[in-house]
Symmetry: C2
Subunit: 259 residues, 2 copies
């Protein structure tokens, strides 16, 4: 599947990633942490948004509902569920601290998916029209908004690429890696994460069955890339995030081409 142009393209990709910001080292994580804290402070000061407490299962907005608000997640965890006309439903996104919710509603005046909390937390409610007014006065707000939408587009594309190009085991590993990254960006610990989703939900998000998720997790634990906490198998210890990336690499090169 790798074309003959892979190498120069890889070089460009590396240049892109290693240019202004490294995504994986500690300073970058802290930068992300500051980015998020700063953004939240700016929003809070400029708009004094209403705050809403969330509990697992709470619906923030629903597909079909009239659009009017954007939301910013201050804490907790939210899943985005897309619905098709024929009844298929799928988790198409996960949101952590600092993420915006509701962009999908702007285009058609109605939200096109459900946003459901899967952990206790807090969202800030921002009226879209009020935000636009504030943006006119304070361009930094507009920059923030566009940055968030842009990042969302990038994340969605990365998710598509993951589903299309990685085998099941690697997809699960990559999922854990990006979860840990999001935790780090939000200023939370990254060595142990608590999956607030069932295997079925994870599988739905990753495009595989719950059995495959379970098998992949078992394999990751067998390979010592992750470990389960003593109580409950929803707590995953990640001794080394790099090991997860390495595992993904290994899946992509089954035979190291010993020549």
């Amino acid at each position: 599947m790798h074309s003959e142009t892979t190498l120069p393209r890889l070089a460009r990709a590396l240049a892109a990633v290693c240019g202004p910001v490294r995504e994986t080292d500690i300073s970058a994580s802290q930068q992300a942490g500051y980015r998020i804290s700063g953004a939240l402070k700016l929003l809070s000061d400029a708009l004094a948004p209403a705050r809403r407490m969330l509990h697992a299962g709470d619906v923030i907005y629903q597909a079909g509902e009239q659009f009017g608000n954007l939301y910013i997640l201050n804490s907790g965890l939210v899943k985005i569920v897309n619905l098709s006309v024929d009844g298929r439903q799928q988790v198409v996104g996960l949101n952590f601290r600092g993420d915006w919710l509701g962009f999908d509603g702007i285009a058609h005046g109605r939200y096109s998916c459900d946003a459901v909390a899967i952990d206790t937390g807090e969202v800030w409610v921002i009226r879209y029209d009020a935000l636009l007014v504030a943006c006119a006065v304070q361009p930094a707000l507009l920059a923030l908004l566009h940055e968030a939408m842009s990042r969302e587009i990038g994340r969605d594309r990365d998710a598509l690429m993951s589903v299309c190009t990685l085998p099941a085991d690697a997809r699960v590993a990559d999922f854990l890696r990006s979860w840990a990254q999001s935790q780090a960006d939000g200023g939370m610990r990254t060595d142990e994460i608590t999956l607030r989703m069932t295997r079925a939900e994870i599988g739905n998000y990753l495009g595989m069955t719950l059995e495959t998720v379970s098998r992949s997790l078992s394999k990751l634990a067998r390979d010592k890339v992750i470990a389960f906490a003593e109580k409950g198998r929803r707590n995953v210890r990640i001794p080394d995030v790099e090991a997860l990336s390495a595992f993904v690499q290994r899946c992509l090169t089954p035979v190291p081409m010993l020549q």
Copy 2:
């Protein structure tokens, strides 16, 4: 994979789709056509953007390149190719007339993917900072921009859902359906489409191999859902777009549950 809550959710999904705008009937297509024409006129009048001719293979922007411009496709066809650090590459989007390009660059100051023309056409080049200035004066421009970003997010999620929930045959059918829809929205004929991509590119976009794409197309032709034009197998005739949707449905219900 369908939970016990499918039915009420389906009802909501239907309400969402059938609410303000029907996506599939003729009037909606014409609305979309007007929407695009109107948007292009507004942009042209407000910004008098530079115009750039495109030929197949031309690169509009590259991953890693400094962000500065957004682009609007006036005609032609552009593919968006995402790159991963480890060399994987994947088509993550296709753009038609009226679509915006370059949103992915806003977040990090550099584009994160390649935009490559796959047909002759024309893009309009818009400096992002100039656009923001113009938006301050003319709020309709800002609305246009946000609408485009929102639609992009929705499309990316739909693509993810398609890859995750549909078998290969249905994915190809759905791909043709959405291509025809995009053509219709751009004011072009929808009964015959010319795939400007190789089977390998289509497969890459849909997360399958080129052989599977070929087999699926053969099956669609055998089932009379599509037909190949006499000259060249890249021209696909679609006698009835609804038949493509029906085919997707059939794939989802292998046995009609004859009770």
